[in-house]
Symmetry: C2
């Protein structure tokens, strides 16, 4: 349990992902946010992020379930860095069920309407480094 508004915002985003609700999910992001699709590959801005999520939902056979917990929030300079534990499962119809864990790293800023919005969504955390090195 974490009562910080940011923890609640991330939990709402998880719920939006898990019911494939792109409109609710896009409210999680700033207009000029960046999503790390995979290390070194980015979706920039809400339109590209929405397209990327459609592809992600398809990739996981519309069965992706994301749960995040243990939110560690560091505020500074008008933004917030969030590190947490993420569990991702999928009950693929065509493929085998998948379960994986990650430690994402996000950057947020509080918008004028008082809601926290994501500026950088890096679900790979520091593994962006390790995966790139292992790939090349």
């Amino acid at each position: 349990m974490n009562d910080h508004e940011l923890a609640k915002a991330i939990e709402r985003a998880d719920q939006a992902i898990n019911r494939r609700d792109l409109i609710a999910l896009m409210d999680f992001y700033e207009e000029d946010a960046t999503l790390v699709i995979e290390p070194g590959r980015f979706a920039r801005g809400k339109k590209e992020i929405a397209t990327a999520f459609e592809a992600i939902f398809d990739f996981f056979n519309q069965s992706l379930v994301v749960t995040q917990r243990d939110f560690h929030i560091i505020e500074g300079g008008g933004v917030a860095l969030v590190v947490c534990n993420l569990k991702l499962t999928t009950e693929g119809k065509a493929s085998s069920p998948v379960s994986m864990e990650r430690q994402p790293t996000y950057v947020f800023r509080k918008s004028e309407d008082g809601g926290w919005r994501c500026l950088i969504d890096n679900s790979y955390g520091v593994d962006v480094l390790n995966m790139r090195r292992s790939m090349g």
Copy 2:
């Protein structure tokens, strides 16, 4: 080698740390930046950050040497998230030599003078989570 201005800024900060130059080091930070001293413990603002570094330099017997490389930079929403590899060595006189590696996570913003400045300095990366959990 990374020619991004941010990589150069971090390299200059390392050089300032390694010669114990607090004035040069403080130019690396925004006025309202946050430094993670250890997971769950923060220095907020330049004054507290300078005091924290004086204590860190003392803790390592004025022999701390920091080297960072493999800068992975993700820009979005007007800020930048940086993940990299950090090596820290100290040739302590009283204590034994120490060498450790970390994968820090930083947030930067470009200032009006064109220089990138650090908003959040979290040298522990995602280990802020693991260390807190192991601590209790």
